[in-house]
Amino acid sequence: MDATVEKPSTENKTWNGGNKPLNASYGKMMMWFFIVSDALTFSGFLAAYGFSRFKFIDSWPIADEVFTHIPFIHGNFPMYYVAFMTFILIFSSVTMVLAVDAGHHLKKNKVIIYLFLTIIGGLIFVGSQAWEWNTFIKGSYGAVETKGGKVLQFVKEDGKRVALGDFAVPIHTERTTQDSNEGIWFLSEKELPSVTLAEVTKGFLTDESLLIRTQYLDENGERIVLNRAESVAKLNNDGIGIVEGANLKHNEYGTPLFADFFFFITGFHGFHVFSGVIFNIIIFFNVVIGTYERRKNYEMVEKVGLYWHFVDLVWVFVFTVFYLV
């Protein structure tokens, strides 16, 4: 090739591309450009989250109370599962960087093993993310929504949370979910909540030990619990409906904005992980059929590696901002 193409000599020349101040290949350079711009996108989202949180700083949900579940085990385990997810992602980063290192030494089989482990790690992470979303959407205790769009949660006198279904007194009603195939054309509604506001109110009035916990935080960051008389008045005057779980408009844990940001930011990150897994799979098969072995150059592994580490880097920040701070 070199013999047939006449290349202008760029040695020792300042102009005409002779000077390479960054000493990085085109592909790696472009990956860094992408990473910087994507980092700014993510920080835009996280900064917007911070903005909304500061706006409602006295009524923002406490993450420890929202994410308390582990698959297959019942009970209250704040943070453990997210910590597990963080480890999975960091570990898949380690296998990725080991794959890059094996690529430098042109050890094809090692690259295959490490890339495979990386893909598995990514899939476990995406699966955990899906499970976390599912738990969040389903909700755990349920709450009553007020006229002002805030939520009222229910606690025993010792401060332990009570689920709506545990104290609501069933009242027989004829109300059924309106489907679009019956009655009015195109008109349908969401699934009815498992209990009605009347049932919850009746149950609350029957059980004297129940109190209402508001969305607001006191100066120590604990939720404010109303006394019995205030609770009854609050429920009777302000309650307008039942919220179970979370969606984009209602959120049993508190401000709906919290759920919106949760879905958007972790969703966007999860999408990055998913595309990272796809890239890794493509590169994995290229390694297996020996493309880079023939090229004697595993730089492609390094480039997807950069992307994969960036996804890990973003998660470090999402983890802090959403679950810790």
């Binding site: 911070g50 903005f51 500061f54 706006k55 080991l98 810790l324």
Partner: protein, 127 residues
């Protein structure tokens, strides 16, 4: 291929024999930091949550600083920033860090102001 990895971390205080052992060393460090973060998040020591510096709890300062430390080691050792030229390092890091600090500072100050407006004035949120 040329092996030109810089194998020292902690400003040269800890030197690894090979690139692989450096990777495992950094992984250990990141794991320890994560464990500390999670442990603090679960225990929430009293004096860290009640004392504040610049309206932010000590605990949150610790979380943010540890996060930046983690980000540093991921970028420097996993993304091989340590082995890149200083020009590339600065182009990437300074640009991002400057813009992010600027954006975050402005948005948080604005958010705090809006909170005060809601709290002190007769305006309630309606969304």
């Amino acid at each position: 291929m040329a092996q030109d990895h810089n194998l020292a971390i902690f400003r040269g205080r800890l030197k690894f024999k090979s690139n692989q052992s450096k990777i495992w060393g950094v992984f250990t460090l990141l794991s320890i930091i994560t464990i500390i973060e999670v442990a603090l998040g679960i225990i929430k020591p009293e004096f860290l949550t009640t004392n504040k510096l610049f309206t932010l709890k000590y605990l949150n300062w610790i979380f943010l600083i540890l996060t930046v430390v983690k980000a540093y080691y991921i970028t420097w050792d996993f993304m091989h920033m340590r082995d890149e030229k200083m020009g590339l390092r600065r182009v990437v890091v300074w640009t991002a860090v400057f813009l992010i600090i600027y954006l975050v500072a402005i948005l948080l100050i604005e958010g705090d102001y809006i909170f005060d407006v809601y709290k002190e004035n007769y305006i309630k949120f309606n969304f």
